[in-house]
């Protein structure tokens, strides 16, 4: 199993390297440059600005410098739009915000999505199943940019304590986390239902029931382990995505998280910030997938034996 983990880690490093390389060259192919302002820049000013950040060098030299800075100095480079501020400074401020919303969102989605999925599976083709799946379908179909303002107007405006948007008191986290959580809960519910249905139809469940195990025991000890596998493999990357923030949720609720930087950095051509964010996000995805792999191996003995 340790060999397997090491193998996955090596793969992860390779993935990150390729990801970063592709990003590096792709963003330089986009039209325009980071110093595009409202006004046109005189050519001598543009040349000076590019020279300040080494952008006058060939792409290969820039690429070498970039890795040199990261590997030798641990420096992700400066933001080209916010001059004087490092990419790591921006990450350090934005990530905790996205992380807290993501964790709360995760808790909400697990607490609602998984029980709903189990219920739907247990009452297959009954009204409970239909209503859960209707809600789940709606949750998947209604985009966050509709859901967020609806929550803002429907809940934020009317319930004292909740606010429509902003980040100036601890309760501001509720609506963004709810939006993020419910959208993911919808996926989770569907995946859990599917996984549970598959397990519940298996022979060993019938055996357990025949032996006289209580319905609760059948669900918790016998079916959950296997039934949750699809949900768990979804949860890993979903968690990484949730804690790195969503542009839509952040702009609708005016939250200073990472999602806004992602989109703005791209439209502003803030090369180093894009690369830093991609690297960070990629790293989280790789780690989350690794954790999911380990958990699945722990739960599923078949996987363990296959690998070894």
């Amino acid at each position: 199993m340790i060999k397997m983990i090491l193998k996955r880690m090596a793969q992860g490093v390779l993935v990150l390297f390729i990801l970063e390389t592709v990003t590096f060259f792709l963003i330089r192919l986009m039209p325009g440059h980071p110093f595009m302002g409202e006004k046109n820049l005189p050519s001598h000013v543009l040349a000076q600005l590019q020279a300040n950040y080494g952008l006058d060098e060939s792409a290969i030299v820039q690429y070498a410098h970039y890795w040199q800075n990261i590997l030798l100095h641990g420096n992700l480079g400066p933001s080209l739009i916010k001059e004087g501020i490092g990419v790591s400074d921006i990450l350090a401020q934005a990530f905790p915000v996205s992380l807290s919303i993501g964790i709360w969102g995760m808790i909400i989605s697990i607490l609602t999505g998984i029980p709903a999925g189990i219920l739907a599976a247990l009452y297959k083709n009954k009204w409970i199943d239909w209503s859960v799946m209707l809600c789940a379908m709606a949750g998947i179909c209604i985009p966050a940019f509709v859901l967020a303002p609806l929550f803002g107007i429907g809940l934020g405006m009317h319930i004292p304590g909740l606010s429509v948007a902003g980040w100036d008191d601890p309760y501001c986290i509720i609506l963004p986390a709810l939006t993020l959580g419910l959208v993911n809960a919808a996926y989770l519910a569907r995946l859990t239902r599917g996984g549970m249905l598959e397990i519940l139809s298996m022979d060993f469940i019938r055996t357990a029931r025949a032996k006289g195990a209580s319905p609760l025991r059948v669900i918790i000890t016998h079916s959950l382990k296997g039934g949750l596998l699809p949900a768990i493999s979804y949860l890993g990357p979903a968690f990484a995505a949730m804690i790195t923030g969503s542009f839509v949720v952040e702009t609708c609720f005016q939250v200073p998280g990472m999602g806004q930087h992602f989109v703005n950095a791209t439209t502003d051509r803030d090369y180093f910030l894009i690369q830093g964010l991609v690297l960070f996000y990629g790293f989280l995805i790789v780690v989350a997938n690794l954790v999911v792999d380990i958990i699945q191996m722990l739960i599923n003995p078949r996987l363990r034996s296959q690998e070894s």
Partner: protein
């Protein structure tokens, strides 16, 4: 299981129900904090690096220039760091007497040297100041900023062997080549001077003189030429500043309100990376030094910027606010919701779609005020058939601007029948008329009767919703009145800007805001020298009128010349003016001393917060119903 859930939910709601008796705005008002929506996240608080309007709003609270704006009139000004000033008869030499009690927030006095240092930095050719051209009115500033080393060296050499007129005959291209030559290339040139084209009048001795100056310069490693360039700023003593201009400028004080003319704390910058440092570390919270009514307090990215009252400001007793908080809210819908939830005192922008709702709910607190901005379409006059003036005029005449403003922009503008927005005592020549019949005639004369055979042109817009709807409306107007079809292409901002700058477009949705209150900030755009023209159109007639206007010190005469210039421009129609924008925003009644301003540069010491009797929290209001 169910019981645990129910308990969780119950405790959660009691928790949030029991808290937050006051809205954010109520708390802030009590503490003397003004909360403003400020569009996008700021890029920099360094006045030489910042370019966005939002950044300038913040810098205007932190720094003070020679003169200070008026709370209610854009064209009035008051003493700032300068206590008094006078100009000579031609208005091309100005003397400013600085006040002795003007201090930086670390206690050091603001001196004339701080202004000279600031101008030096912004103009420094190796600094890369985007707004350096704002200082070009200073004599010799342009050649220093563009690093025209040859001209500067010749003028400043002690012998001054070559007369100015002869220097002017050498083409800019030749100067450029000379400036960029390395020592080796220059030595070669010394042997065979005719490697580059010189002006014919130049003698061999004069050429040799120029080359020897350049060689000496290259040998010295091409040092900074600030001292030799003799840019028109002098400091006879620490509290007197003399500005020498390249042409008469009776309107100079209005320019001085712009952040590019502000002083910088030389003593701080020299300790933090020197004159070329672009990191702006001296503006960051905790290390910031400024000379205005406020100092930098906190900055959280995408969250807020808070500036706090500066006790060492010379007029600190007039400042009533304790702090101003700027929120970077790009989404106008979110911002409007936040206003109605009691989170902001003044918003930045109400989207046209919410205009009716805002008016209905906020009444007089919803404001639509004139703004010094023109919304227009650029036409690429290099692309046929737009190279034909009749086609351009026809397109312009077929736009029904009244309908556009009423139905699409929802009153957030005034129909523009000229280009420069009214203001600053300038009467815009309004010669454009909505005349579909004449437009059809012009189109027919140009060879497209009833739009037959008219090529499919593309109208480029940014991805902003308003721009897209506007483009659709105008597409329909052209279809209806001219029977021609235009395609719409909307691109994200940088791609749009890139296409516009490189003239890869047919028609481009554009806007322009004045940097200071003067028609020339709008008309200079269309000269052949302008870097922002991007239409491919220019004509010597127009350039002449603007040049004459620049060289006259007589204000009424200057305005007439500018009007004549604009007349020429409008007649040639390189652009289609659509409307003059209004700033639409929501303002809470607690905010006093906030007046409509064309440039939207509010003077923070004039603003006060008074707790109002109006309910500030709509939730409470509703619970009484």
């Amino acid at each position: 299981m169910m019981r645990v859930y129910a308990l969780l939910c119950l405790s959660f709601f009691t928790l949030i129900w029991g808290c937050n008796e006051q809205s954010s705005v109520e708390k802030a008002t009590k503490n003397g904090i003004l909360i403003l929506g400020n569009n996008a996240e700021p890029q920099s608080f360094d006045p030489h690096i910042a370019t966005s309007v939002g950044d300038m709003h913040i810098i205007n609270t932190l720094m003070e220039g020679l003169v200070r704006g008026d709370p209610a009139n854009d064209d009035k000004y008051h003493p700032g760091v300068a206590q008094s000033w006078q100009s000579n008869q031609q208005a091309n030499e100005w003397i400013f007497h600085l006040r002795k009690d003007a201090l930086w927030s670390d206690g050091a006095p603001v001196t004339s040297g701080d202004f000279a240092y600031a101008f030096h930095r912004l103009l420094h050719p190796n600094f890369g100041g985007r707004y350096a051209d704002m200082l070009y009115p200073l004599i010799h500033a342009e050649e220093y900023n563009k690093n025209n080393r040859g001209i500067i060296l010749c003028k400043s050499s002690i012998e001054q062997l070559i007369p100015q007129e002869k220097l002017a005959q050498i083409s800019p291209n030749t100067w450029n080549k000379l400036n960029n030559m390395s020592l080796v290339e220059l030595t070669q040139l010394q042997e065979t001077p005719n490697l580059i084209p010189w002006a014919e009048s130049l003698t061999n001795g004069e050429k040799a003189h120029i080359i020897s100056l350049m060689i000496a310069d290259a040998q010295a490693g091409k040092p900074d030429l600030w001292d030799k360039a003799q840019v028109g700023v002098e400091c006879p003593d620490s509290h007197t500043l003399v500005l020498k201009l390249r042409s008469p400028m009776p309107q100079l004080p209005l320019l001085l309100l712009h952040i590019t003319w502000f002083p910088l704390p030389q003593h701080i910058l020299e300790n933090r990376g020197g004159i070329l440092d672009r990191t702006g570390s001296w503006t960051r919270p905790g290390k910031a030094v400024s000379n205005g009514p406020f100092v930098m307090g906190t900055h959280r990215f995408n969250d807020y910027v808070e500036v706090i009252k500066n006790p060492s400001y010379h007029a600190a007793n007039r400042v009533k606010l304790n702090a101003i908080r700027f929120l970077p809210i790009v989404n106008g819908f979110t911002e409007t919701r936040m206003f109605f939830d009691g989170k902001i005192h003044i918003t930045n922008n109400v989207p046209p779609e919410m205009s009716d709702l805002a008016h209905q709910r906020a009444g007089n607190n919803y404001r639509q005020e004139n703004y010094y901005t023109t919304i227009f379409y650029r036409l690429n006059t290099k692309h046929p058939p737009l190279n034909d003036v009749r086609i351009r005029q026809a397109l312009s005449m077929a736009v029904d601007r009244d309908t556009l403003v009423r139905e699409v922009v929802r009153g957030a503008g005034t129909p523009a029948y000229g280009f420069t927005p009214p203001g600053a005592g300038y009467q815009t020549p309004k010669q454009i008329k909505f005349n579909p019949q004449r437009a059809r005639q012009l189109l027919a004369q140009a060879g497209y009767p009833n739009g037959k055979g008219f090529p499919r042109l593309e109208l480029m817009t940014t991805s902003r919703e308003v721009q897209k709807t506007m483009a659709e409306a105008i597409q329909a107007m052209w279809q209806k009145h001219l029977n021609i079809h235009i395609d719409i292409r909307s691109c994200e901002w940088t791609a749009y800007k890139f296409a516009q700058n490189t003239m890869q477009y047919d028609i481009s949705s554009s806007s322009w805001s004045g940097d200071y209150l003067d028609p020339s900030t709008f008309l200079d755009l269309w000269t052949s020298q302008s870097g922002n023209n991007n239409t491919g159109w220019n004509t010597p007639n127009f350039d002449d009128k603007l040049n004459q206007a620049r060289h006259t010190g007589n204000i009424p005469q200057r305005m007439t010349l500018l009007q004549q210039g604009e007349d020429i421009m409008l007649d040639q129609a390189p652009v289609i003016p659509l409307y003059w924008a209004k700033r639409c925003y929501l303002k809470r009644p607690e905010v006093k001393g906030w007046h409509p301003l064309l440039l939207d540069n509010h003077v923070p010491e004039a603003i006060t917060l008074k707790e109002s009797s109006l309910p500030t929290n709509p939730k409470k209001e509703e619970s009484h119903d």
